[in-house]
């Protein structure tokens, strides 16, 4: 019997798991994918928004401002890359000038610190490549960027280290409510592998599938209408094209496209907004990418799109309500929905988790703080160490002297450490999220086969069982005829 089960391990579920694991509780988290942070949390703009955008008084406004305040502390404590780079909202017309003044006022109402309206000249001083058509900007110095998957991973890992049971590759398929005819006092959940669990409380953090999960207990008071957004990710050579996150003013034609550095030093450009029928439709299209490209070129004179290393798309869990849904289900006060968590969900996540804890407490979950909580987390990042520190590390473990991912300078030691971490990555894409190997300009075409071998070796998996991403994304089919000449011949 679990005290609480969290369904879905995106940033929302991970934050809930992290906060809940501070208390003496038996916790379970079930995640459909074979790794954490594999939904919207891995495919977004990675901005910790300052909070000038949401309607004052809304849940979104409160959760955003509180969430980023908590994020600063959590990232520091759990060694998550986060950079306070600031943001500019660019104006190109008198209408836009009006909009940035409105945003400024809204930001003040929401309690956003440091906002300032800049003239075109001031804006250009901080961003030399701004388009000539920029007429002014709103500066939000507290806007930050984060590594979204490491943020989720760090919180989930810490929860696991402190006793949370995590089931990966286990989609919840069926939930039987406590008050149904069975007469039991707990939820009974069954996963895609046929295993059942009993839990007294449930948090639904299933992202774009949260309406389906809610429907499992007969809840139908919200629906998700997924909205896809597409991106370019440019090489680090282009990473200094701008130093702030550059937003455009929302207009009748759309919310505008942003250009931003990432914490890893790349440049990210996107997204558009397009309603899609299938919540898992993360395909990219030529039309949308062209739209993004054109829109982004309004902000900056010259964006080196030739340096593109990857395109991707994420799906927003837009619901039929204007605000985030953070409430107990009408079906059961012990079933908490964290649903419709569209942008700024990444920014708001820990605040949403905090609210979920309140709701759980109100519904009768006893929250007793633990005294033995371990939230130390330090990552070895070879590339950022001084030569002396690197040598010391290599002397202790020579695998840190073997650079496997040449584009990002990730060593075998780091990959092995990730594979033996609290949440071992089991696919090439998961390794990429857990330690950056394969995320660089060659996108794993050089290190892919090498990482494949390390995963198989360290996890004791058959070579052919290592996948690109989720189950079924196999990489190799069968041994070659008479099997290959293992190892290199020359020498």
């Amino acid at each position: 019997m679990y005290d609480c089960t969290i369904i879905g391990c995106g940033i929302t579920g991970a934050a809930a798991a992290y906060l809940l694991s501070h208390y003496s509780l038996r916790l379970l988290m079930l995640e459909a994918a074979n790794d954490v942070a594999n939904g919207s949390t891995k495919a977004n703009s990675a901005i910790l928004h300052a909070g000038f955008d949401p309607e004052p008084g809304s849940l979104m406004a409160r959760a955003n401002v509180r969430g980023v305040e908590m994020a600063a502390e959590i990232c520091r404590r759990l060694d998550v890359p986060r950079l306070n780079c600031g943001a500019l909202v660019l104006a190109f017309s008198p209408d836009d000038q009006h909009t940035i003044r409105e945003l400024y006022a809204r930001g003040l109402a929401n309690g956003v610190p440091g906002l300032r309206l800049l003239s075109a000249q001031e804006a250009r001083q901080s961003e030399p490549y701004l388009a000539d058509t920029v007429t002014g900007a709103l500066l939000a110095p507290s806007s930050s960027i984060v590594d979204p998957w490491e943020y989720a991973l760090a919180m989930a890992e810490t929860a696991v280290k402190n006793g949370l049971a995590l089931g990966l590759g286990r989609a919840v398929r069926r939930i039987v409510r406590p008050d149904s005819p069975s007469g039991k006092d707990y939820f009974e959940l069954t996963d895609s592998q046929g295993q059942s669990y009993q839990s007294r409380f449930v948090i639904n953090a299933a992202g774009v599938h949260s309406d389906q999960v809610h429907a499992m207990i007969g809840g139908h008071n919200f629906h998700i209408h997924p909205v896809r957004g597409q991106y370019f990710l440019l090489d680090k050579n282009a990473g200094r094209t701008c130093s702030h996150t550059l937003f455009q003013c929302p207009t009748a034609a759309g919310k505008g496209v942003l250009v931003s550095p990432t914490v890893h030093g790349n440049l990210i450009i996107g997204p558009d907004a397009e309603a899609v029928a299938d919540p898992d439709n993360t395909a990219t299209t030529a039309e949308a990418l062209e739209y993004v490209r054109r829109m982004a070129l309004r902000s900056l004179n010259n964006i080196p799109f030739g340096e593109n290393i990857r395109n991707f798309a994420g799906v927003r869990a837009q619901s039929d309500r204007p605000d985030f849904i953070v409430e107990a289900s009408p079906q059961s006060s012990r079933f908490i929905n964290l649903a419709g968590i569209k942008s700024p969900g990444l920014s708001a996540a820990p605040a949403l988790a905090e609210m979920a804890l309140d709701l759980l407490a109100q519904a009768g979950l006893p929250l007793k703080r633990r005294s033995d909580y371990d939230d130390s987390r330090r990552r070895t990042r070879f590339r950022y160490l001084t030569p002396a520190q690197q040598s010391e590390l290599i002397a202790a473990d020579p695998r840190y002297g073997h650079v496997v991912c040449r584009c990002e300078t990730i060593t075998e030691g780091e990959i092995v450490a990730a594979l033996h971490g609290p949440i071992p990555p089991r696919s090439l894409d998961a390794v990429k999220r857990h330690c950056n190997a394969g995320s660089g300009r060659c996108q794993g075409s050089f290190c892919g086969p090498r990482i494949h071998e390390i995963i198989a070796r360290e996890l004791g998996l058959p070579y052919e069982a290592v996948t690109q991403n989720d189950a079924g994304s196999y990489i190799v089919t069968a041994p070659t005829k008479g099997t290959g000449s293992k190892g290199v011949t020359a020498c």
């Binding site: 040598s391 020579p398 650079v403 086969p449 690109q468 079924g472 994304s473 089919t477 005829k481």
Partner: protein, 473 residues
């Protein structure tokens, strides 16, 4: 067998980054040129570079005058070093040249990390310049900084991947670069799919079309954006035609389908501006898409060392001795420009090795350097500049011809290559046919350039009357 490093030296004469055919040939030449402290640093566990996974034959016809496989060619290059004391440091990745490795992203970890500083060095008495510094990581030696009078860049190239060509659709398993597929099949011993479409008709793609077919996979088509192939003609015949694999010229892949593994791709014809033509979509039911869409010289180190790169070759600007704009730093092989034939890599690298040895003993090149302008039809040249009066300076044998490699911008027949000094034509070389996929080479007699007075050389492609355009060499 090469000497492995027992002890790191204080300062090398010539340090070579990359132990592929380029690095190996450069090392031999540096040794022959009198350098005695020569080190090759290779990140892999064996030397040989990309040749180790090229188990097909077709290597060495020009250089060794026999047909070898890739690993055999690499073996020969190593044999050539047998009687030298060139040292080899394996499993060691060079992280940067002359500057401490700069990894973007450290700011995001909030000032926790100390910022290292690099001291300046005094000029070396022999070369007059401070020694170059090479930073590397090695399981055996740790994080090291090696000094050397001359450095040769021989890092080879990498493949362009999906992002560079922006193919829309899903992002499933089964989309690989041809080189990654080659590694899986030839070195790891695993097949990568059963029904394969290949995008791009570069040589690696062509070679893999044949290799996968021999392994029992069905290669459905090779799709090429341009109206001509970028591969060698012999590979088109031996790898596609011989196996009945269709080559779809002026076509491209416009969509990838499949959530977990590729389930199909859409192929479209393109118009003259290379845009897909609506209504020409063909669906292929396949589980694999191989990308053979070009190679990029691996110049991250070069760029970080602020050595100017030529946007056309994507390699460093080099003089005829393969020296870059940074005195004492040379580049050769695929890192300087992408070669089709390894034989030319070896030859070019010998020149780099010789010149580096001369530099290390204080005989650096000097004098008047003239850039080569590109006339019509010329895609790039290597070298980009020539010291016209350097013959007999210790860098260059007065009788030796100067090699000029170049590529044309599009396939043409019955042309001549013309070299101009200002407005006056120095010489014309006839060619029956030229194509961007086949690198061309000219050997310029030193006397030809000696009087070069205008300060500007131009190479151009001109139409020739059919009878003038004789044979192809």
């Amino acid at each position: 067998m090469l000497k492995t490093v027992k002890q790191l030296r204080d300062c090398y004469d010539v340090l070579i980054i990359g132990g592929g055919p380029a690095g190996l040939a450069a090392a031999r030449a540096a040794w022959d040129g009198g350098a005695r402290q020569v080190l090759i640093i290779e990140r892999d566990s064996a030397p040989g570079g990309i040749l180790n996974q090229c188990i097909h034959n077709g290597f060495g016809l020009h250089y060794f005058h026999e047909e070898l496989t890739g690993p055999e060619y690499a073996g020969r290059c190593l044999d050539e070093l047998a009687d030298t004391e060139v040292e080899l440091l394996l499993n060691t990745m060079v992280l940067s040249l002359d500057e401490l490795p700069q990894e973007p992203g450290r700011e995001a970890l909030g000032g926790l990390l100390p910022e290292p500083v690099l001291a300046t060095l005094n000029p070396d008495p022999l070369t007059g310049h401070p020694a170059h510094r090479v930073f590397a990581a090695s399981p055996e030696w740790g994080s090291i900084c090696l000094k050397s009078r001359a450095v040769i860049l021989a890092m080879g190239c990498r493949e362009r991947s999906r992002g560079a060509i922006r193919i829309p659709g899903t992002r499933p398993a089964g989309v690989l670069t041809a080189g990654a597929a080659q590694r899986y099949v030839n070195l790891e011993g695993w097949q990568i799919g059963r029904r394969v479409v290949i995008l791009g008709s570069g040589d690696i793609g062509l070679i893999m079309a044949r290799r996968l077919t021999l392994e029992g996979a069905k290669v459905l088509a090779c799709v090429e954006l341009m109206p001509y192939s970028s591969g060698l003609r012999r590979n088109l015949v031996q790898c596609l035609d011989d196996f009945g694999i269709p080559l779809l010229l002026s076509h491209t892949v416009t969509e990838i389908r499949g959530r977990r593994r590729v389930t199909g791709v859409t192929v479209c014809q393109v118009d003259t501006s290379r845009q897909p033509v609506a209504g020409t979509e063909q669906d292929f039911d396949c589980d694999t898409l191989l990308l053979s869409v070009g190679l990029l010289p691996e110049n991250e180190l070069t760029r970080a060392a602020h050595i100017p790169l030529d946007p056309r070759t994507r390699g460093a600007y080099v003089y005829e001795n393969m020296e870059t704009a940074s005195a004492g730093v040379f580049a050769c092989g695929n890192v300087a420009h992408v070669h089709d034939l390894v034989d030319y890599v070896s030859e070019e690298s010998q020149r780099a090795g010789q010149a580096a040895a001369a530099y290390a003993r204080g005989q650096g090149i000097s004098g008047r350097a003239i850039p080569i302008q590109h006339g019509t039809g010329i895609g790039y040249t290597v070298p980009q500049s020539i010291h016209v009066d350097a013959a007999g300076t210790g860098q260059r044998d007065p009788a030796a011809a100067i090699n000029l490699f170049f590529r044309v911008t599009r396939p043409q027949e019955h042309v001549s290559i013309a070299l101009y000094d200002g407005d006056s034509c120095l010489k014309r070389w006839p060619r029956l046919r030229v194509a961007p996929g086949e690198m061309e080479r000219l050997q310029l007699p030193p006397a030809l350039l000696h009087g070069c007075g205008s300060g500007s050389l131009t190479l151009a492609l001109e139409h020739a009357a059919p009878e003038e355009a004789g044979k192809n060499d």
